[in-house]
């Protein structure tokens, strides 16, 4: 237990790695055992992240649970893990989505072993990004998280999967291609020859002319993953093609890597540049919000609708970050968390529907509420979260972001709020066409979710409701770190 | 024919041109190799000519000429063995048979 106390983060990181090893050791024919081991491993990592949440000390903005190990001292590479209030929600989010994602895929029959192996690799990468405090390791884990996506989509996907997988991979690798020089640049031009994030951000380096280039590289590189306009098209296509749990991980967690990267590396290390570029970031974010919502309104495929709604909601995150105020940043981090849970819920509901009806055409579905009340309720709850209905976590996030945005740029704030109305339009349009209305003969005999399959959905919905009723649970954890960051930003010219 | 540097240079250029012409024109690998060797010969004459007329120490030019000769020998050895291999594999020593090297 003492070891666990001092190595909590590494343990969380090791969970999926151990799961990967376990999966590799179990013969492929014993799918039951593979699933069970995956469930246990993901359950443990989820439990550990909850433990982390509970042990976290919200009164300080310093890194907690840190562990250090020299890796390549000559190149300034150190294995450092640690979390502060900004990464804590992300770790919890990953734990929850990981666990529920594994449960959601319980009925998978095709190449079970490979599927769970790749999932484990992906999750290990994601955990790694969120806890790494060393740029090199952050980048390493980032790549680790991106690559399994290709296989997961290309092998287990549906509509146009090769195209989608290739598009996604190319986009994300293009992002990496921008990131890598930026990271090297950070290490080099800081004059410190280190990748240690804390050292870099404490150094207050004057980046001179290089700052612009490095920051833009960082912003674009991470931004691609966060789906910033106009580099977002990989994301809906990827969602549509991906199998259910991969969509959950993709929209729920993977896209957050991008915004988290901007927050952690961009804002924390280069506050002056952030101040300089904030208007651009905000403008693109508003584009994301409105444009994503309008495109979602025009879609005919359920998953595309949700895919574009993610684009819209990630815009809220970026807008919150761009305001550089306590409310905006707290809201953005909260939104990352809430949106992760929410889209996971969306996709898990759609997954159930698609598994049984074999269609996601909005116009072909209809009257599902009568046939599948549980799946429909899940979708509606997620939908309500999506349009910012109170008592669901994303309401608070959007509230904070929008107030902060109105303060900084009233027009951008107003446009973003208008985006909420459009969100309401597309969510309710889907609900009305696919879930309400008279029962269709085609779907009359479709089974609803069983108790077991409902479990992951209930967990996700419960999390949304919990943080919807009690936002202070989240905001208190964030407060110290956000305040420290805002002070740094305000001190910048 | 005054014994000047220019005349030697012209000679070596002409020789080089002929060799180059051969390499470009011929399809036969051996003939192409001959063209290359002619070009190398031109270079040797050039080096020695410079050694004679322009060098502080004429030894340098000669040494380089010797190096060229060495490289030419190596090149010929490898080239010829490749030609033999190609012949064994393709039954011909024309470069037209090697177009599958294209990318």
């Amino acid at each position: 237990m003492a070891w666990l106390d001092s190595h909590l983060l590494t343990s969380i990181l090791l969970c999926p790695v151990i799961g990967l090893a376990l999966t590799a050791l179990i013969p492929a024919s014993r799918t039951g055992a593979i699933k069970l081991s995956a469930a246990i491993v993901s359950g443990i990592s989820c439990a550990l992240s909850i433990l982390l949440w509970q042990r976290f000390d919200p009164s300080t903005s310093r890194l907690q649970f840190t562990e250090r190990m020299e890796w390549l001292p000559d190149l300034g590479i150190t294995y450092i893990v640690g979390i502060d209030g900004l990464s804590l929600p992300m770790v919890l989010l990953t734990g929850i989505v990981f666990f529920t994602g594994v449960l959601t895929m319980w009925e998978l029959e095709n190449r079970v072993k490979e599927y769970f192996a790749f999932t484990m690799a992906l999750v290990a990468g994601v955990f790694g990004v969120f806890i790494s405090q060393d740029l090199f390791f952050l980048f390493l884990f980032y790549e680790l998280a991106v690559l399994p996506m290709y296989l997961l989509i290309a092998i287990w996907g549906s509509t146009r999967r090769e195209y989608a997988a290739m598009k996604l991979t190319l986009f994300l690798l293009a992002g990496s291609a921008l990131l890598f020089p930026a990271l090297i640049g950070l290490s080099h031009y800081s004059g410190l020859n280190t990748f240690d994030l804390t050292l870099l951000s404490d150094a207050n380096t004057d980046w001179g002319g290089m700052g612009i280039i490095i920051f833009l590289f960082l912003y674009l590189g991470f931004g691609v993953l966060a789906g910033i306009f106009p580099f977002h098209t990989w994301s809906p296509v990827g969602h549509v093609a991906a199998p259910t749990a991969v969509s959950m991980l993709h929209a729920g967690v993977l896209m957050k890597l991008g915004s988290y990267g901007v927050l952690r590396v961009g804002m924390q290390v280069m506050p002056e540049e952030m101040v300089r570029w904030a208007p651009l970031i905000a403008a693109l974010a508003v584009c994301n919000i409105l444009y994503g919502a309008f495109v979602a309104l025009g879609q005919t495929d359920l998953k595309y609708v949700i895919g574009y709604s993610s684009v819209s909601h990630m815009g809220v995150v970026m807008l919150g970050l761009a305001t550089m105020s306590a409310a905006g940043i707290s809201g953005a981090v909260f939104q990352m968390f809430a949106h992760g849970i929410m889209t996971a819920l969306f996709f898990s509901s759609i997954g159930h529907i698609y598994d049984h009806t074999h269609t996601r055409e909005i116009s072909r579905l209809g009257g599902l509420f009568t046939t599948m009340p549980r799946a429909s309720t899940v979708f509606i709850i997620a939908g309500m979260a999506g349009i910012g209905v109170p008592c669901l976590a994303s309401f608070w996030a959007e509230l904070l972001v929008f107030i902060a945005a109105v303060k900084k740029w009233p027009l951008a704030g107003a446009l973003a709020i208008f985006g909420l109305v459009v969100s309401a339009l597309f969510v309710l349009r889907v609900v009305q066409r696919s879930f309400f209305g008279p029962e269709r003969d085609d779907w009359k005999d479709m089974p609803d979710m069983g108790n077991f399959m409902a479990t992951p959905r209930v967990i996700l919905a419960a999390v949304l409701l919990l943080f919807g009723f009690a936002p202070f649970l989240m905001l208190d954890q964030l407060a110290a770190s956000v305040d420290a960051l805002v002070q740094v930003l305000e001190a910048s010219p | 024919m005054a014994e000047t540097l220019g005349s030697y240079l012209l000679l070596s250029s002409a020789l080089f041109a002929v060799g180059l012409f051969g390499v470009l024109l011929r399809r036969n690998l051996v003939a192409m190799l001959i063209g290359v060797e002619l070009m190398l010969n031109a270079v040797i004459i050039n080096l020695v000519a410079f050694a004679r007329f322009a060098g502080a120490d004429p030894g340098n030019g000669q040494v380089f000429a010797l190096f060229v000769i060495g490289v030419a020998a190596a090149e010929a050895a490898v080239g010829l063995s490749i030609i033999l291999t190609v012949f064994k594999a393709r039954g011909a020593i024309s470069v037209d048979r090697l177009e599958e090297l294209s990318g």
Partner: protein, 182 residues
Amino acid sequence: MPELSPETLLNAALGLLIVMTLAGAVLAVTLRKVFHNLLGFGLSVIGGAGVTLILGSEFVALMQLLIFLGGIAIAMVFAVMMSTPNEQAEEPRSAGAVIPAILLGLGFTALICWAMLDGNFPQSSPYVAEAWSVKNIGLLLLTDYELPFEAISILLLAAIIGSVLIARRTREPEPSEEADRG
């Protein structure tokens, strides 16, 4: 009969050698049978070695003869002999192939000439016999140029081993390789 001074004789010999070199070269590239090409090449090499000799470098001239004629040409003869006779048949030649080759060859040469004649080189220097001696060359090779010398040795060694290895591969290409290429 005018008196033949050594100067004149030397010039005449040089002219002859130049003509021989160039004529041999032209034959070596234009004749259509490889064997004839080889004979032309031999002529050209002999001419070139003569020119080198007149320039004053006996050793280089000797080496030229030895390696180009004794080594390379003979090896080529072997190569030609080992390939089938029908390969020595006339290859087709069209204006489309000849003209670009001539243009490229002449154009490139013109460039080189332009560059070389443009250069401001000293036009003569005294002939010092010791400097042209083999001893001097040997000293240079083992002092100033030791590293290139060793590198050339290694190159030659590698070339010998490599050519032996390449030439020894007598088996037919495997079917799978064929399929891959398709």
